[in-house]
């Protein structure tokens, strides 16, 4: 049987997942993706999967933002491309 806490966390996961997809601006999406990762961490903890929760915590809050932010800055056209364009 599913208890209330699991239902609430699942709802958060679903809403945040759709929010990540609906968010077109990539910088804002990084933030929402971080929250979505956090909601997944809570979900895995509530579903008694601590190993996966640790894994998701490190991945979604350290690795994803780092890679995404570096790429967004690199492709935003500030810096290097300006120099190339001059």
């Amino acid at each position: 049987m599913i208890d209330v806490v699991q239902i609430v966390v699942l709802t958060f996961v679903a809403l945040l997942g759709v929010a990540v997809v609906a968010c077109r601006d990539t910088l804002r999406q990084v933030m929402v993706n971080g929250m979505f990762g956090l909601s997944l961490v809570v979900l895995f903890t509530v579903f008694e999967a601590p190993d996966v929760a640790i894994s998701m915590a490190v991945v979604s809050n350290v690795a994803y933002p780092m890679l995404l932010l570096a790429t967004i800055y690199r492709t935003r056209g500030r810096g290097a491309d300006e120099r190339e364009r001059e």
Binding site: V18, N33, L40
Partner: protein
């Protein structure tokens, strides 16, 4: 009510797919792929969860409570870490798309390609 976790997994899977179809930016598409991947994680872990259970760690486990499914956790555990490097590869390609093709928009890049 007890199918709700699987419904959420399906929603995440389809949301990710919709994100890729409607994406205007390869970085956005890459993140939508990770959302789609999270759909499979939620499905896998929900399959393994046990009501009123505890984590499959025998050190400090309360006797009498059933344990969750360790196999699904083992599969998901490694897959989550692999998704980081898959995303890294995708973002490396996205950077090259911006630098070489001048755009991150899939439709525009296709037009450039002709």
């Amino acid at each position: 009510m007890s199918v709700y976790p699987y419904v959420v997994a399906g929603v995440l899977f389809l949301a990710g797919l919709y994100g890729v179809v409607s994406s205007r930016n390869y970085i956005h598409a890459a993140v939508c792929l990770t959302v789609m991947q999270s759909g499979t994680y939620v499905a896998l872990i929900a399959l393994g969860a046990v009501s009123g259970g505890q984590a499959p760690i025998t050190k400090g486990a309360q006797p009498g409570k059933p344990m969750a499914d360790p196999v699904v956790q083992a599969l998901t555990l490694t897959d989550v870490v692999v998704s980081v490097v898959a995303l890294a590869l995708m973002l490396a390609l996205a950077q090259q798309s911006r630098r070489r093709g001048g755009t991150l928009d899939p439709d525009e890049l296709a037009r450039v390609r002709g």
